[in-house]
Symmetry: C2
Subunit: 640 residues, 2 copies
């Protein structure tokens, strides 16, 4: 093609081969080995950003004919023995001909450890956004290639294909290129769109943010996309709380109040913008260096965030607007980062199994294990998964907010003063409790109420239907206005000056919630044809999980009767999954596959759900034979 | 994939094979053959829009086992002999199983004749925008596929791949689908983006507009994208004229005046919006049914229209912002058609060989001919092409506006009262002229001035350098303030009450303009190594061409000396090319290839240009041997 020949700049080309990866790439003369490695997608460590200071980008080149001679920095940092053995610094070695490069293990940047609360997973650092430095030949009468094609051809030489560019950026391109004297840093999204072109320095960094929109809490992680490092973590209450604590009230407000959707959307976006501002201030970076945002949330939060009416989520058959991931420009949503940054919202599975649930599965990795796992994300709505690499089934159970401490007379969130652990002496029914931060008790939070029910049952204070055995004689058990209650903390111990009690009504709330989750697990286990003994792992996600006593959870029959060492509390896997999608295109791809692959079981339409729900309303379960661990205890108690 | 199985609706599938095209497609039962043909991209005529009235969609089906029995309409419209012979109406025949369909020639819609002024070309009607009617299964508890995936799956069954959708349309999708009761018409762009979803009726039509932004004139064609028919043609002056008649003044205004670019862009877009409004009113269609706009213009007009600064076009090395075609949403530009409609701006070739020139080449088809052609688009800047299917070279010559009647003492545009034809009697030098609309003469337009110079030269009134032979005695030749002039029309004949003259200065202007074009042709012919006798066609495009006398053009040496029957005037090929891109994706593809393939020769940097220019300043040329036809005349004249 004569036109290409006319456009080509005058640099020569060389082939660089990276071992042990076996990746080959053709690059222009004049690039460093570090540049070449970045283009080839081969990870080489570099802490100083390629300035020849840190000495981390050590490589071995046996035949150095195709390289520039060692620089002063290399001579200073490497011993003469090492230099003789072929060691070089990738950032200092300039390609001048064909060369084969060996990357020793200590220099490899193959995988990054992501540490979410409670779990860690390995994956290759390969974010959707990356920066490429290009130096363009200046136009001349003999090379009048237009600005965009000049940039495009330079990117093509680095192995990139068709490239899009936003209208406004194209409008600014001529000025940017000339002000930068044709030496620019190009920010690419998914290697298919140029989202920014800046004066080439590479010093200002490339950042991203992962956001979890919980019904009650927002979490944001600010991440360095070049290193994978988390720079700042920020949390805030979801400001939509004033329009209802539960999802259904929010959906109703958004769907049926004039301007409701827009108002709720604006609230959450403003809150996210504040978190971004706080995180950037803490990390000392500029907001417009955030080039990508990933977002998870349950389907209702997802819809409201994107300005989709959640109306259909409230009425049968609970149909979402979209399942697949959604990519929208930040400015279309009003997210205050770089204006052409992309906001990637993870895919969901169904009306009540949202992007946060996909993130849970992604973060725990249950989809790639041969072993069978159960994953429960406990919240206002709890999502349950049962499966392994072959097949995963999921459901959503409207467990109600009992486990978040709501709808209980003395219930509260897991904040300072909440009773989070309870022990009852089976002899004298005296109570030992622990509160968050060791403060005077204010109420009982989710993990406390699970302990309470478990202990009352273990001590024989309540029967298998959750009713107090009124024959027992203890001053802690008393009747108030027709309601039977058990005093957990006496008024003189509490911060409120009132007795903190657990009533029969409270216990019924907990039983309804646990029965919904337990029935969901049962239906899914049946669907996957697995029994308790087949379960290798049980993951409990959500902040509730952090404080839960697994023994109590098992004792009340919230989870199946499996050995306690198989239970893990994995914390906020939603944000962990969102962050993984920020750092890895492969994880993003897997998320898409999961959203298609994971089967959704609509419990209300499932023939077994009612029966399983009724069975699970018992403590621990109507079929006691499925809870041998608990049975042993009960019979032991009966024996005394 | 279990999820897909769950989503699929309950219709069966059948294979429909179209002959003689040999195209096979799998479709749902229940579609008509006309639907199937549209999906398969096989053109079948239908004037009534599939209502079984016009009888144009006649097909022959030998084995009708896979079809519904003939409808009442078919029985009424087709003779029993035809029915027996297997004739059916495609719009009435419903697919119920595998079927092979023969489309007789009279029903084929394989190609459409595009009639631009002066030329016609055949191509398959295959616009970037098409509408697809889909009837979706309603969601149920057993099929909770989200709205977008429901639509996506239906389109996938019609053979479409990944589909994008704009954020706002996704927001509106749930409401649209439910209000339409799941029976919708989907407007697709390039089969890759859903740009509109509407209540399924298909009655409202799918339209497009082609726009030519000339430096002085705007032309708009409103087109029915289903039939290819042009519904309305509108023209207007380019309102940017008040900021300078020539391109350089506009570029300077846009590049250096505060807010200049935005002002010029707004002017042209407002003018286009008026044309759209007028055209829609004339055709009786709604503006928001225009789903695609194609635009051509020279590179400066292209840049200003898109809001790109044309600054670099004014200074060496004359670099454009972009060469390839540009697609922008109409609303990003403020074009008042359907807001998510795409505006497709044709690619250009170089700073002064623009999208209009690509359209010229496309419309004349010189790129697919084995024969060698010359194509000249005469304007303020003239573009010249020389080549054939193998290779085309191009250049731009700053011919100046002399051929548009400007910069001449009595020059004017080709409007009412302009002298457009001139004959001078070689004996008594008396003048015969014709004016546009036969009105009293006001001035001389481009074709008139070419005639004038040719006639003055033919009659020996001027020499080969364009100087009057002062020795000749005629009262029409006179000196006014040191300037020698020839009177073409006496004051008592004119509308102005003044003599209309042609001065030596005017003749020099014409010579400069013609020499620039002629030198361009010469350089390109040399570059392509062709001689006069190799030229099979010479196309003259631009409105100037319509009135030009080819003999005069040859006589003054504006074009090479070739037989007159090889010369065609092809009118506004720019708008013709824009319309072809509106109606055919293939033409769009070819336009892209042409913009890459056509070599651009920068004349000012070419070693031969100066010499050729100097040679062409003579009448007809310094090397008289290259103009045997003219030589014969001159020697004949000299002989008398």
């Amino acid at each position: 093609m004569h036109t290409l020949a006319m456009m080509g700049n005058s640099f020569g080309k060389a082939t660089v081969c990276f071992e042990p990866q076996g990746k080959k790439i053709e690059v222009e003369h004049g690039l460093t080995l570090l540049d070449a490695a970045r283009i080839a997608g081969v990870g080489i460590r570099s802490d100083c950003g390629g300035r020849g200071i840190c000495g981390k980008c050590l490589v071995v080149v046996k035949d150095q004919k195709g390289l520039s001679p060692p620089s002063d920095n290399e001579v200073r940092l490497l011993s003469s023995a090492r230099l003789k053995a072929g060691y070089r610094l990738a950032c200092q070695s300039v390609v001048e001909g064909d060369v084969t490069v060996f990357i020793p293990p200590e220099s490899r940047l193959e995988a990054r450890r992501i540490l979410a609360e409670g779990l860690s997973r390995w994956f290759e650092l390969d974010p959707a956004v990356r920066s490429v430095r290009v130096v363009l030949a200046k136009p001349s009468l003999l090379d009048t290639t237009p600005d965009f094609e000049r940039l495009f051809n330079a990117l093509k030489e680095r192995g990139l294909g068709e490239i899009k560019i936003e209208h406004e950026l194209m409008q600014r391109l001529p000025t940017i290129l000339r002000e930068a004297n044709w030496n620019v840093e190009v920010i690419l999204w998914m290697d298919e769109e140029v989202i920014a072109v800046e004066r080439g320095s590479g010093e200002r960094g490339v950042y991203g943010a992962a956001v979890d929109i919980g019904t009650s809490k927002l979490v944001l992680h600010l991440v360095d996309l070049r290193s994978g490092e988390t720079l700042s973590v920020k949390m805030a209450e979801n400001p939509q709380l004033v329009y209802g604590e539960d999802i259904i009230s929010r959906i109703n407000y958004a769907a049926f109040e004039e301007g409701g959707l827009a108002r709720l959307q604006r609230l959450v976006i403003e809150a996210i913008n504040s978190l971004i501002e706080d995180a950037c201030r803490e990390a000392g970076i500029e907001r417009d260096r955030i080039y990508e945002v990933t977002v998870v949330g349950n389907t209702a939060m997802h819809h409201i965030f994107l300005g989709y009416s959640p109306k259909q989520l409230a009425v049968a058959p609970y149909v979402a607007v979209v399942r697949r991931s959604v990519s929208v420009k930040a400015r279309q949503l009003g997210i205050k980062v770089y204006e052409l940054a992309n906001v990637f919202v993870l895919p969901n599975i169904a009306g009540f199994v949202g992007a946060d649930a996909v993130a849970d599965v992604l973060a725990t990795g249950i989809y790639e294990s041969d072993n069978m796992s159960i994953l429960i994300d406990v919240g206002t709505n709890s999502e349950v998964f049962v499966g392994n690499r072959e097949d995963i089934v999921s459901c959503s159970t409207p467990a109600g907010p009992a486990f978040e401490g709501m709808h209980l007379e003395h219930g509260m969130k897991a904040v300072t003063g909440a009773i989070e652990k309870i022990k009852i002496d089976p002899e004298d029914f005296e109570v030992e409790y622990e509160t968050i931060d060791g403060a005077k008790p204010v109420g009982i939070c989710g993990s406390g109420i699970v302990d309470a029910v478990a202990e009352l049952f273990r001590c024989g204070l309540i029967d298998e239907r959750g009713h107090f055995k009124k024959s027992l004689n203890t001053k802690r058990l008393r009747r108030e206005n027709d309601a039977v209650k058990f005093v957990m903390a006496w008024r003189d111990e509490t911060a409120t000056g009132r007795d903190i009690t657990v009533s029969e009504r409270d216990i019924q709330e907990v039983l309804l919630a646990k029965a919904a989750i337990r029935a969901g697990i049962a239906v899914l286990m049946k669907e996957r044809r697995v029994k308790e003994e087949d379960i290798a792992h049980l993951y409990i996600a959500g902040s509730f999980g952090k404080y839960l006593n697994p023994e109590s959870a098992l004792f009340i029959g919230l989870i199946p009767d499996i050995p306690l060492d198989k239970i893990s509390f994995v914390g906020n896997t939603a944000i962990a999954g969102a962050k993984m999608c920020l750092l890895s295109r492969n994880m993003r791809k897997i998320a898409g596959e999961l959203s298609n692959r994971i089967r959704y079981i609509e419990l209300t339409a499932h023939p077994d759900f009612q029966k399983e729900f009724m069975n699970a309303l018992f403590l621990p379960h109507r079929n006691l034979s499925t809870y041998p661990t608990v049975m042993k205890h009960i019979s032991k108690n009966k024996g005394t």
